[in-house]
């Protein structure tokens, strides 16, 4: 009997090992079977994406190479929109201004007669093929490769000769655990006279268990060499980032399910009523909270997190060293968008992700925060119209038209002067040279990178011959582009990492890199993505417990 049990046990173990081997060791699959699995997973991915409505932000820099082979941006484009892939890619684009009626009357053909970048074309690059069919492509195995902790099968994919137009051509990386495409790099074939497909490198992250979703797309076209004859010198770099996947973030009923009643009873002995001053403060705080909550709800403001704490530390340094007394407390939040801006909503300082990305050091961050803190210290109020919730009854895409936090020139000047006072008494007073250099770099790029430097919600940091904090600008050393040790502004994406599912921000965990040439300084420039792919925590647990049944 014991022998029988042993045999049964061994058979069970060996059969389970067989199942495990089938799941864990895809090498046992033939290449053809692997491709079948990839195609199947891609169909599931397309179905999943049709249910998702993330925000997609695209930033494009058109480049020019001068006679000395220096490549610099000559202009830029920006769009932010919510992606809808249900009937082909469509975006509801967040716009600061609608085109005026007069402009349409004067030149009704302006859109038709200019070459333009299409937001939906950039959103499209998250989809390899909306109807991925094995018989439309040639697949050829290239090698195995690790992208972060994801072991990948690298496959070249080319459309067959008689396949329809517009199919992907390039290379795909397939993680070998579940056969999800985690990266694809190439373009779509068969552009027409009127339209053009760009080359792109599209990355997906394992954001949830068994769910790899598009997160980054890097686009590059490098001059005339590999270019359509129709688009002379199409020379650009662009980034598309996607976030706000979590439907909970967008669910306006979320608060209903998350009601927490802590300390419901006010146990203070006497203070049951609010004095007029206190009532005014509460009213302003309500307007502030409404605006902050709304921005977070529509996915353009990060939820409170670690990066806020870093900002808060710098603000506290300024407050303590200047012995400021501010009621209610100052809070810091991060706007998830790229355009360089900072502003205050009441006592909440908001800094954009793009601005945090390009700031060279802590003193430069202190300069930005000191300016905003100065607005608060000077009592520049929040617009209390926002205390009424009906002010937020508008489409998400219209947020930039309905919410304004810019200050007038007099307030800005007063804040600049006050900020200088705050910085003079702060631990940053001897380190402000780089902050001035940052402003100089910003001003130098402001005529060219107009979309990067145009705020969507706050006041402009630089325009024409003026910049914020002119005193720091004037006292800064000379900007020397050839000096490797003078890094006045960083490339885009240098500091902040965004979790596309939860919108949480963390600092980039990269080793410091020594520059070898001035070309590598790349202030405010778009660079390629090379993220470290990792499996989501849930997937890791599944692996630790053993493979699931297929």
């Amino acid at each position: 009997m014991r022998g029988f049990r042993t045999i049964v046990f061994l058979l069970l173990v060996s059969s389970m090992a067989g199942v495990a081997a089938e799941n864990k060791v895809p090498a046992s699959l033939s290449f053809d079977q692997t491709v079948d699995r990839v195609v199947e997973r891609e169909h599931k991915f397309v179905e999943t994406m049709q249910r998702m409505h993330p925000l997609a932000e695209t930033y494009i820099q058109n480049l020019h190479e001068d006679s000395d082979r220096n490549v610099e941006p000559v202009n830029d484009q920006y769009f932010l929109g919510r992606v809808d892939l249900n009937n082909g890619p469509r975006d509801s684009v967040f716009q600061k201004h609608h085109k005026g009626f007069l402009r349409h009357v004067v030149n009704p053909f302006s859109a038709a007669l200019s070459t333009r970048f299409l937001p939906q074309g950039f959103a499209q690059m998250v989809i390899l093929d909306s109807d991925f069919q094995k018989n439309n492509y040639h697949f050829s195995f290239v090698r195995r490769e690790f992208l972060g902790e994801a072991r990948c099968i690298v496959i070249d994919v080319q459309p067959r000769e008689k396949a329809p137009k517009g199919l992907f051509t390039g290379r795909i990386w397939v993680e070998d655990r579940d056969f999800n495409i985690v990266r694809f790099n190439g373009t779509y074939s068969g552009h027409s006279d009127y339209t053009y497909y760009l080359h792109f490198d599209s990355w997906r992250f394992n954001l949830q268990a068994d769910m790899w979703l598009p997160s980054y797309v890097y686009v590059e076209e490098s001059g005339t060499q590999h270019n359509s004859a129709l688009y002379h010198d199409l020379y650009l770099k662009a980034q598309t980032r996607l976030w706000a996947y979590d439907p909970e973030q967008l669910n306006h009923e979320e608060e209903f399910t998350q009601i927490k009643i802590d300390n419901a009873v006010d146990d203070r002995p006497a203070a049951k009523d609010n004095a007029p001053v206190e009532a005014q403060r509460k009213w302003e705080r309500m307007a502030e909270d409404n605006a902050v909550d709304h921005l977070q709800k529509i996915g353009v403001l990060a939820p409170p997190g670690d990066v806020d704490k870093i900002l808060q530390t710098v603000v506290n340094n300024l407050i303590i060293t200047n012995k400021l007394r501010i009621e209610p407390d100052v809070r810091c939040r991060v706007l998830l968008t790229l355009p360089l801006e900072s502003f205050t909503i009441g006592h909440t300082i908001v800094v954009s992700r793009g601005l945090l990305d390009v700031l060279p050091d802590e003193a430069s961050l202190a300069m930005i925060l000191a300016h905003e803190l100065a607005h608060i210290a000077l009592g520049h109020h929040v617009d209390t119209r926002l205390a009424f919730n009906d002010r937020f009854f508008f489409a998400d895409a219209d947020a930039f038209q309905h919410l304004h936090f810019e200050r007038n020139a007099a307030d800005e000047e007063a804040a600049d002067n006050k900020a200088m006072e705050l910085l003079e008494s702060s631990p940053y007073k001897d380190k402000l040279g780089n902050a001035g250099l940052f402003l100089k770099t910003l001003q130098a790029h402001s005529p060219v990178l107009t979309n990067l430097i145009s705020p969507r919600l706050g006041s402009k940091m630089a325009s024409g011959n003026t910049t914020r904090m002119a005193a720091l600008f004037n006292s800064a050393p000379t900007l020397e582009r050839q000096r490797l040790d003078q890094v006045a502004a960083l490339p885009i994406g240098s500091r902040i990492k965004l979790d596309p599912w939860s919108n949480q921000l963390t600092m980039v965990n990269a080793n410091p890199v020594a520059l070898v040439s001035p070309r590598e300084k790349m202030p405010f420039e778009v660079t390629p993505f090379f993220p470290f792919l990792s499996y989501s925590q849930t997937d890791k647990k599944l692996v630790a417990q053993g493979p699931a049944n297929p």
């Binding site: 970048f117 329809p164 517009g166 006279d193 009127y194 688009y231």
Partner: protein, 213 residues
Amino acid sequence: MRNTMRTTGTVCFFVFVMVASALAQSRLVSGPSPAVAGPAYDISIGYSYLSMPISSAGRANLNGLDFSGNVAVSPRWGATLDSSYLRTSDVLSTPHQGYVLSLQTGPVFSLMQHRNTRVFVRALGGMALVDGAVPVSATSYFHGWSMRPSYAVGGGVERSVSEQLAVRVIGDYVRTTFYDTAGATQAQNNLRLTVSFAFRLKQHPHRYSAQVR
């Protein structure tokens, strides 16, 4: 006669619009959305042949050159400015040298595209200067010129030879006006065949802008 012209013109216009609208319901270019779109410009030059009826006398054959500039403003729609100069050394054996100079513009609609071949229809309107002769007997003829509005409807096939060069063959019905033997103006129902080379022009990046709706 004027009523006939007007009716023919109206019918042609509506047929053109209805066919175009119906076909526009289907997508010309299936597949992924492009990231860059913009007008595609080209200029073309070619040989043109016109068969022109002369009132009560037969048809005159004219040959000449055709120049046009074209712009595609969407995958289906475009516009063209077409100019042609066609002549004959003797109009219906008279010693008169006749010619037709026309300048017309109008929309172009792509019916279909398969690989490098595109089929399109177009409707043009403009002016035509017709210099001709009308034989009244074996030895005598009237001659003169008339500059009147004219229109054309037609279609063609375009075959891309390279990214910048294409060959087009276009057939048009062209409506012009000339005189009859009584000296009264009369509509002419011409047929025009054009074979041309189209040279596509490049776009420049400084014109690029973001399209936001």
